[in-house]
Amino acid sequence: MGQKITIEPVTRVEGHGKVTIHIDNNGNVTQTRLHIVEFRGFERFVQGRPYWEAPVLVQRLCGICPVSHHLAAAKALDVIVGAGTGEGLTPAGEKMRRLMHYGQIFQSHSLHFFHLASPDLLFGIDADPQKRNILSLALENKELAVQGVMMRKFGQEIIEATAGKKIHGTGAIPGGINKHLSSFHKKRFLEGDSPMNIKTMIEWSVAALEFFHDYHEKNKNIIDEFVEFPSSYLSLVRKDGALDLYHGVLRAKDRDGNIILHDVDYQDYLKYIDEEVRNWSYMKFPYLKEYGKETGWYSVGPLARLNNVDFIDTPLAQKEFEKFKSYNNGKLSHRPMHSHWARLIEILHSAEKMEELLNDPDLMEGPLTKKGKKQSEGVGLLEAPRGTLFHHYKINSYDQIEMCNLIVSTTNNNQPMNNAVNQVAVKMMTGKEEISEAMMNAVEVAIRAYDPCLSCATHALGQMPLEISLFKGDQLIDKKQNR
């Protein structure tokens, strides 16, 4: 009889994800699964609500990157109110939304890097998990912790200035935005006392990359060799191939770097994307229709974006992008740990974009919204911090939502995360009858590289608290936890 190992959050609730590993009598791993155990039912209970409520309702799926849902819903509703997609809005409408979005990317990526990843890097991934958090970081390296806290604060204040609130704001409305940037905020962000100004934020973003390069140099085993598996990648890119987090066309590359989805209009996403339901997880498994359930899966997120784009349109981030490309010999990077690197390049890009927008007079005047011929259906996509986010709504003649289909970023990474866990399990568990600490750490780090969004999909601030139970048949023979 085979054995079953269960890795799950200690409390079984906070983690909202758990891993099971099956091993046969010869000690070979026969199956690994990452189960997502949360379900909300949003697609059903939003039916019947007036469509304009969607941007404020749906963002409450996730308090970590609510702006992404807020804006993806608003973009879908732009189509419904006849304002068209991305470039169809007024300059003030589109640019205020972009500023909100770059503020969001900046705060969310900063949260991930400073609050989560940097303690791993500073204290080592083998360190006591109780030590690997922002609070310990604050006690031991106050300067770095303060930088992380202030960078997140800056991003949150940009969101507040554009959306009205730091979390669950109301700025984006169908067809545009509800206010201009005030001169008070413009002055504060451009010329505020250090560190709360955009110049310092750009400097710190560059410094964070230097910190990473230094770490990378000394720890190639972790960044380059820890996990590696080939994957396809999906993301939006700007029409000219540039990195664009707010709007673009859908591109996918196969594992060899060939473009397999050729910059298509995302209004037609149903032609290209399907999802598989498996009975052991509430999270579905998206795939490219053309390639089928088995081979059509893909990864999204910072690494997917940098693998897909041709260039970055801000100078400092472009320089870092070139370093990234040349390190990978111009090929795709299939190393999930390189996501940390890609994320830092995007922090810098977002800071440069914010500076550009803060200096743009269009945000301070002109019409805020646009409307045209009403449509009954609209699709809104954007690149959320964790990857491509899909929102699709249909409305009836009473302006009520009739259908809502969502594919959230982390869902797109479902198969890659399962593969990463499988690779680690095969490497660390084959022939073993006991669960090692190293095994638990490795699984945690592999999943964390995807920065799984913990509200959209699992809840735990990026951390995967682990408990592993080793079963022989139905009998528990070993149990360990990393807390």
């Binding site: 609730v13 189960h35 209970f45 308090g63 922002i134 106050k142 399907d274 598989e276 809840h459 601030l461």
Partner: protein
């Protein structure tokens, strides 16, 4: 005297209330001088290691495990606070309360436009995933809650003021700007 001990958890919430706690920004550095954190996703301690003075609860109860954790918090904490609308009244997830849960599952896994390939009409039901409750319940319908902090999420200043008031024993300042939301 040892520092007061604080624990936090997110049940059926969106983590926005925890994010709002982080929005106290640089005061987080003061907070760790004032209190010691025990079980919390912020520091990643997953099991109570001692008696706690204050428990902050985000989110209501949508599955049996939420109930289990909430009871565990009641057992280990002297003061339990519902933080935000979901803990106080179920919040957005409770919008499913007027709809049979089966319909919600069918919409997500069978009727959805990108799951038309699900011809076997599979709805996740593996023994490894927990059982959903018929409705989403506010925390005070499950255990006794001592205080409620309103907002979606409650403002960082409100969370900060409440913690400081509890720790120092001083009366809480509640100006309109701090308790209004949306």
């Amino acid at each position: 005297m040892s520092k007061p001990v604080v624990a936090t958890t997110s049940l059926a919430g969106c983590f926005g209330c925890h994010m709002s706690l982080l929005d106290i920004d640089e005061r987080i550095l003061d907070l760790i001088e004032l209190v010691e954190f025990n079980k919390s996703p912020i520091n990643d301690i997953k099991k109570f290691t001692k008696r706690c003075n204050i428990g902050l609860i985000e989110g209501g109860c949508c599955n049996s495990e939420n109930v289990h954790v909430l009871k565990d918090f009641r057992e280990h904490c002297d003061i339990l606070i519902s933080v935000g609308e979901c803990a106080i009244m179920g919040g957005l997830p409770a919008m499913r309360n007027g709809i049979p849960i089966r319909e919600c599952l069918e919409e997500a896994y069978i009727n959805g436009l990108t799951v038309q390939n699900n011809t076997g009409k599979i709805i996740p039901n593996d023994a490894e995933i927990p059982i959903l409750l018929d409705k989403v319940y506010p925390c005070h319908e499950v255990v006794k809650m001592d205080y409620h902090l309103p907002g979606c999420p409650p403002r960082a200043d409100l969370i900060w003021e409440a913690l400081v008031a509890l720790i120092t024993g001083n009366e809480m300042k509640l100006p309109y700007q701090v308790i209004k939301f949306d």
